[in-house]
């Protein structure tokens, strides 16, 4: 319930604040009259040092780019080196922004006096510090943005908030998100709002002077073209995702938490999914495996009771499969886990952080091949004995998977 308030309702409150203020402050005639002056003044106030402008700007730009192209982000992250590069750059930008923020506060007494602005800057500081901590502590920071936060954003935009995406994330990430949201909610009550509006006001003035000129028509045509290209790309992106069920996180008959078992208590994946090493199927553990522990532990829990009832009544549990491959592809867990030495998380994502398991990977053939092109499939001259064997079973031949 708390999660729902924090991540299901609060975002709308913040958005309502932002929009309401925007409308009220720009449309009221009194405010409009003074607007250009206030804006100019606020912009000067928030201009601050170069560190501040560039640090914050880069971070916001990075988030925006990743928001528009999550798939590219995932592709980028697939190589550890590039992942470190990206997160390192973000970390440096964050450090710069934080330093800039400190400088800004030290130099500007007016900002220190305004409660709203102080609150906003504090929130921004929290966002930055938590972001820095994430970059240092978690390997999966940018992955989470693409795989968990964006689906949540999308669900918010679709007015069907689904908090299951963010709920399983570590507290630090949740703090980062909440502080960011709060900052957005506070924004309209601060001078920063005017500072941000300044470019728009400036542009409006310029347009006013240029209205008569012919160049406006050219600009409009350019904008229309850009819009068409952009929407075309969106459509292509959407079509390429037909049949891809990334983010699929169906409800299960028992609300089993991988975050608790695999994350908090560090139960190894193969303890329950013991078939993954020997069989084509990783297998869903038989209830007997659960009862190994739950014969004694947490027996009173409602979810464990469901399990015990099923065992007592000899009723099979019907789980909903999360990861589904088409029938025409042969996938063997054994081949990958035992033969290739691939870690479970490579395909299943940070299951240890998931309350309810969702499909993080694309599970498309291109996604499979991204890996197959790289590993075990090296040129013969570079193969170790191990790589050689993997190449023999894996590789790029169609008939290695389709039969």
């Amino acid at each position: 319930m708390r999660d729902f308030f924090l991540f299901g309702l609060a975002p709308y409150v913040a958005a309502a604040c932002l929009l309401g203020a925007l409308v009220w402050r720009t449309l009221s005639p009194r405010a409009r009259k003074a607007l250009p002056e206030v804006c100019r003044e606020s912009a000067a106030l928030y201009r601050g040092a170069m560190l501040w402008r560039w640090g914050l700007g880069l971070l916001l730009l990075g988030h925006a780019v990743a928001f528009l192209m999550p798939r590219s982000l995932l592709l980028w992250d697939r190589s550890p080196l590039r992942l470190v590069l990206l997160e390192g750059a973000a970390f440096l930008a964050g450090l710069a922004g934080l330093a800039g923020l400190a400088l800004l506060l030290r130099r500007s007494g007016r900002l220190r006096k305004s409660t709203a602005d102080l609150l906003l800057l504090t929130l921004v500081a929290v966002v930055m510090v938590s972001g820095l901590a994430m970059a240092v502590l978690y390997r999966w920071g940018s992955q989470w943005y693409a795989l968990s936060l964006l689906p949540w954003f999308r669900s918010l935009l679709a007015l069907r908030p689904d908090v299951s995406h963010v709920a399983p994330l570590p507290p630090l990430v949740r703090l980062h998100v909440l502080a960011g949201m709060a900052a957005a909610g506070v924004l309209p009550f601060t001078r920063a709002f005017y500072a941000l509006a300044w470019p728009a006001v400036l542009l409006g003035e310029r347009i006013g002077t240029l209205r008569a000129s012919r160049s406006i028509a050219a600009a409009e045509a350019m904008a229309a073209l850009a819009l068409a290209v952009f929407s075309g790309m969106l459509l292509m992106g959407a079509l390429r995702r037909v049949g891809v069920s990334q983010g699929y996180a169906p409800a299960q008959p028992i609300a089993f938490s991988h975050r608790l078992h695999a994350g908090k208590y560090r139960v190894p994946c193969l303890y329950c999914h013991f078939a993954a090493e020997t069989s084509r199927h990783a297998g869903i553990p038989p209830a007997g495996i659960c009862m190994n522990c739950h014969g004694q532990l947490k027996v009173a829990s409602a979810e464990v009771q469901k399990l015990k009832e099923a065992v007592a009544q000899r009723r099979r549990l019907r789980w909903t499969k999360v990861h589904n491959l088409p029938d025409f592809v042969y996938f063997s867990h054994s081949q990958h886990v035992r033969g290739g030495g691939v870690a479970c998380q490579r395909c299943h994502g940070p299951v240890e952080a998931m309350e309810r398991v969702s499909q993080t990977a694309l599970l498309t053939m291109g996604w499979c091949l991204d890996c197959h092109r790289k590993e075990g499939i090296m040129p013969a001259s570079q193969r170790t004995a191990k790589g050689r064997a993997s190449a023999a079973t894996g590789g790029l031949d169609c008939g290695k998977c389709h039969y």
Partner: protein
């Protein structure tokens, strides 16, 4: 220029404009796109509540068991996936199967999932509970016992020692009971002849592997006779050319072209009624050399020179020759026994001290039982594993006689022709569901264990008998106790019974040491004069009958359907007969010479009349058929087999004559009438000739001795447009020894089971749309009455320069780095260009969805039937091409096993399904990059060639020349 364009005025009356059309189209495309964007359907995963150790979903387990397809008793390994058997393979430890199977054995796993099996017991034609049935049977048995009534137990051949002990116990409990054994195709005369000759009423164990010269009279021992897998392997082992230039020579005299005859070095057609004369003529020649007087033969039924050559060869290889006869007439068998005796084969190639129990039917006893039933002397009849109302020559009489029996119980698994007349039907388990044992040959025991819990509410027949004897009906306990009491003391390897039992069960087989006391060397004491007189008498009779009305019928079994007990098995119905290449039904094989005289063409429906019975069948023109003999297959024309087998072909059993206590394998005095109708046979090969091309390359043994590459000289110059591909890692290949291949079809069914190959039915086969990935081409050459026949297994040749790959517009067929030509179903759009461009014609197109389609009502349209499917292989959908993958799923599994073990796969670790099943070890698969592998060795042989080499397709599959060990004067 704009002025040049004539404007077409808008037609306002059309109602719909181009714009409307575009709008509609846009809408539909959009709607379709949106519809396809819906989330994927929810799939469920249901784990076991508690998982038994050793059962891992997705991992197969193997259970050693014994085949129940026929009484040959081959040891099997049943492959279980997710708790259900999906394939059977021969148990390499079994001395009978030696790791191979026949087509029937491969298909038994499908019979397990037969829709038409009974779901539970029936009483008076209605479903009942076991308690009701037991109460009824107990009451009737008690009543019969009380008034001393006669009981009869009519069974098929029972090779299970524990079941025989159980029957003995049953007979002990009901002293007025008798046990009668009925075989649809019996070898009773052979047992009777051995009684007359050697005083031992048994079947000998034939040791073809020790024979250098083999003379076969009618016996189709490579296809259907006695124990085909065992005999085919031994026969092939005697013909391997591995140590250069040594192979056995095989003569065959027969009344129609059989699988065995077509594989013989020298085969000749003889009227079925004259086979006795052949035996006599051979005996006369051998006896002359041995210096013993014998009765003189009458007129010769065939070429004297051939008989002389055969007799010469036999005599030269005394003690390592063998004469085998399949005529169910003791007089002929007595003559053959004398032949073997004079040649010193008894005790060497003919083992009477370790007899075979694989056929125990007694035609005379069945006839006597029938007479007793007619007289009302039989008060209770238990039918176990028999269907005489279908397969007895006097089935109508049997059914009438059944009416006189007040109490009839059948153990049939379905309400078949006999069980429909029974008061109670107590369905037996399928053999893959039951406990049991077998002793097909004395001293060679094997155990049967269930590979799956019974699917239905059935009960083992032995359990029913045990229950009616007053026990708890525990077959396992009975079996184990029998082995503890009877078998365990006969062995010396294990000191504790539990060890002995566990190991025997795990191995599946147990060979008992030879008994020291073999008794005195058997001496032939038969009355040869009487036998010769009998043969001559029946010859004269046949001669008279021929003068009157003309024809003789030779009854034979087909390798797929045999005696018809598996008629409801679609794999076997669709298995092409190796000789005629016809599926789904039987036909009258007539000589093309006779057909020309009578004006018959292929498919003309004729009526055969014999002994007051008539049979309507289409005609098939069969080279090698003696002019006045017509061959008709048994096992067809079932009426209560089930949806697949009912009404396929005609039942020939009623035409079989019953003479002097034996069911004869041929009828004389047969009339043939034309009906004027024509029916298209479901044949998979319509052209018999290679048209002079070296498709199957042949040489005689003498030529091979002079030049190992004889017959294989043709080496066309090869020019290639393509670059040589690198051959790194593994490079798979196959070599098929045409000298070992018999054409038996075990590989075809094995492939079908392994690769989920669909059954398409008779109509689709008639359209040439059968789906088998491996076919066995058969070519005739030479004279039409004495054809030379060759077989060639044909599957995708996995060409290095594959013609199919260059024409596929969507790259659905491409080459792999390890030498395979791959077919990617999910990419295929069904242009069929590849099939068109394939010079070997091995590609198969899915014209329909064969799975889950009630138009193809075989096994893939029900949950039960689909249980046999191999989960490692895709079930192909409509509109895609498919073909042999060289069992890529097995290759992948083998490589994974090697990867886990940390060493490369050893030669022979990865075997294709066809190779695994092959009784004669004709097919070898392996890594061509491994110079020590068997396949590399074979491909390096001077006999090795690639088919249609001149096209430079560079296949990795190739063949070894066929070698004939021709008699001297013909070589």
């Amino acid at each position: 220029m704009a002025s040049a364009i004539t404007e077409i005025p808008d037609r306002e009356d059309s109602g719909q404009s181009r714009r409307d059309f575009l709008k509609l189209m846009g809408f539909s495309v959009g709607a379709a796109a949106l519809a396809s964007c819906t989330p994927i359907p929810e799939r469920q995963a249901v784990p076991l509540l508690s998982q038994p150790e050793g059962l891992l979903p997705g991992v197969e387990s193997w259970y050693a068991t014994t085949c129940g397809g026929c009484p040959a008793g081959c040891g099997l390994l049943a492959k279980d996936r997710d708790g259900r058997p999906i394939k059977v393979e021969g148990n390499p430890r079994s001395p009978i199967s030696r790791g191979a199977t026949c087509a029937v054995g491969q298909a038994t796993v499908l019979s397990l999932y037969d829709d038409q099996r009974l779901r539970g017991p029936r009483l008076h034609g209605r479903p009942a509970t076991w308690e009701e049935v037991d109460a009824f049977v107990d009451e009737r048995l008690a009543a019969i016992a009380a008034r001393g009534g006669a009981l009869a137990l009519l069974t098929g051949t029972i090779i299970s020692p524990s079941s025989r002990a159980l029957i003995a116990a049953f007979l002990h409990r009901f002293p007025n009971a008798r046990h009668v054994v009925h075989d649809a195709v019996s070898l009773a005369a052979l047992r009777e002849a051995n009684r007359r000759s050697f005083g031992r009423p048994v079947l000998p164990r034939f040791r073809f592997d020790r024979a250098r010269v083999i003379v076969g009279l009618e016996a189709d021992f490579l296809g259907t006779w006695l124990s085909p897998v065992e005999l085919a392997r031994a026969w092939a082992d005697g013909r391997r050319l591995e140590k250069p230039a040594e192979m056995a020579r095989h003569y065959q005299f027969e009344g129609g072209l059989s699988l065995t005859g077509s594989n013989a070095d020298r085969r000749t057609g003889v009227l079925p009624s004259q086979l006795g004369l052949v035996a006599l003529a051979l005996l006369e020649r051998v006896a002359r050399r041995a210096g013993t007087p014998v009765p003189a033969a009458a007129d010769l039924p065939c070429d004297a020179a051939l008989l002389d050559a055969a007799a010469n060869d036999l005599w030269r290889h005394r003690g390592e020759s063998l004469v085998v006869c399949g005529v169910n007439d003791p007089a002929v068998q007595v003559v053959v026994n004398r032949l073997n005796f004079l040649l010193g084969n008894v005790g060497r190639t003919l083992d009477l001290t370790h007899p075979s129990w694989q056929r125990q039917g007694d035609d005379a006893a069945v006839a006597e039982l029938m007479a007793g039933m007619e007289r009302g002397e039989i008060h209770g009849l238990l039918l176990w594993g028999v269907n005489p109302a279908y397969d007895h020559p006097q089935a109508e009489r049997f059914v009438r006689a059944l009416g006189n029996v007040p109490f009839k119980v059948s153990f049939a698994e379905r309400v078949d022709e006999t069980a429909m007349h029974a008061d109670a039907v107590c369905p037996d388990h399928h053999e893959l569901e039951s406990w049991g044992d077998a002793e097909p040959v004395a001293g060679a025991l094997s155990l049967r264990q269930p590979a799956i819990a019974p699917l239905f509410d059935t009960r083992a027949a032995a359990a029913s008998l045990l229950r009616w004897l007053g026990g708890p009906g525990d077959v396992y306990a009975w079996l184990r106790e029998h082995w503890r009491r009877e078998i365990f003391p006969r062995q010396s390897r294990w000191a504790r019974f539990d060890d002995f039992w566990d190991h025997s069960l795990q191995d599946g087989v147990c060979e008992l040491p030879a008994e020291d006391d073999v008794g005195e060397e058997p001496v032939d004491r038969a009355d040869l004069q009487a036998a010769a007189a009998e043969i001559l008498a029946s010859h004269r009779e046949a001669l008279a009958a021929r003068r009157e009305s003309g024809y003789e019928i030779r009854f034979y079994e087909k390798v797929g359907l045999r005696d018809g007990r598996h008629a409801n098995n679609p794999w076997l119905q669709e298995l092409p007969d190796p000789v005629t290449r016809i599926t789904w039904g039987n036909y009258a094989c007539v000589s093309p010479l006779l057909a020309a005289d009578l004006g018959l063409v292929e498919g003309d429906v004729v009526i055969l009349r014999s002994g007051g019975r008539a049979l309507e069948l289409p005609v098939h023109l069969q080279p090698g058929q003696p002019r006045q003999a017509i061959s008709v297959a048994l096992g067809y024309g079932r009426t209560r087999a089930g949806k697949v087998g009912d009404g396929v072909g005609g039942n020939a059993f009623p035409l079989m004559p019953f003479r002097n206590g034996f069911v004869r394998g041929h009828a004389i005095g047969v009339r043939l009438e034309k009906t004027g109708r024509r029916e298209k046979l479901a044949a998979v090969q319509l052209h018999d000739s290679m048209e002079g091309r070296p498709i199957v390359r042949e040489a005689s043994l003498d030529e091979i001795r002079r030049d190992p590459a004889a017959g294989n000289e043709e080496r066309p110059p090869l020019l290639s447009l393509w670059e040589e591909r690198p051959r790194e890692g593994h490079f798979w290949g196959m070599a098929i020894d045409l000298n070992a291949c018999l054409g038996c079809g075990a590989c075809v069914v094995a492939c079908q089971a392994e690769n989920n190959v669909a059954v398409v039915g008779r109509d689709e086969v008639r359209r040439g749309r059968e789906m088998h990935w491996i076919r066995i081409d058969r070519y005739h050459s030479g004279e039409v009455d004495e054809p030379r026949t060759v077989y060639q297994p044909m599957m995708c040749q996995h060409c290095g320069n594959a013609p199919c790959e260059t024409v596929c517009p969507v790259l659905a067929t491409v080459h792999s780095s390890d030498g395979l030509n791959q077919q990617v179903y999910n990419r295929c759009v069904g242009t069929r260009y590849c099939a068109n461009n394939c010079p070997y014609k091995v590609r198969r197109f899915n014209w329909f969805d064969y799975a889950d389609n009630d138009r193809f009502d075989y096994n893939m349209n029900s949950d039960l039937g689909r249980m046999v499917l191999n989960p490692d292989v895709v079930v192909r959908s409509r509109g895609v091409m498919e073909k042999c993958s060289l069992c890529v799923q097995r290759i992948q599994a083998g490589k994974l096993a090697a990867e886990v073990a940390g060493s490369p796969p050893a030669d022979g670790d990865i075997r294709t399904a066809c190779q695994q099943a092959c009784p004669s070890r004709a097919i070898v698969f392996g890594d061509l990059n491994d110079p020590g592998s068997e396949v590399s060795r074979r491909q390096g042989s001077p006999r090795f060639y690639r088919l249609l080499e001149e096209l430079n397709t560079r296949p990795v599959v190739g063949y070894l020349t066929r070698v004939r060990n021709l008699p001297e004067e013909e070589a």
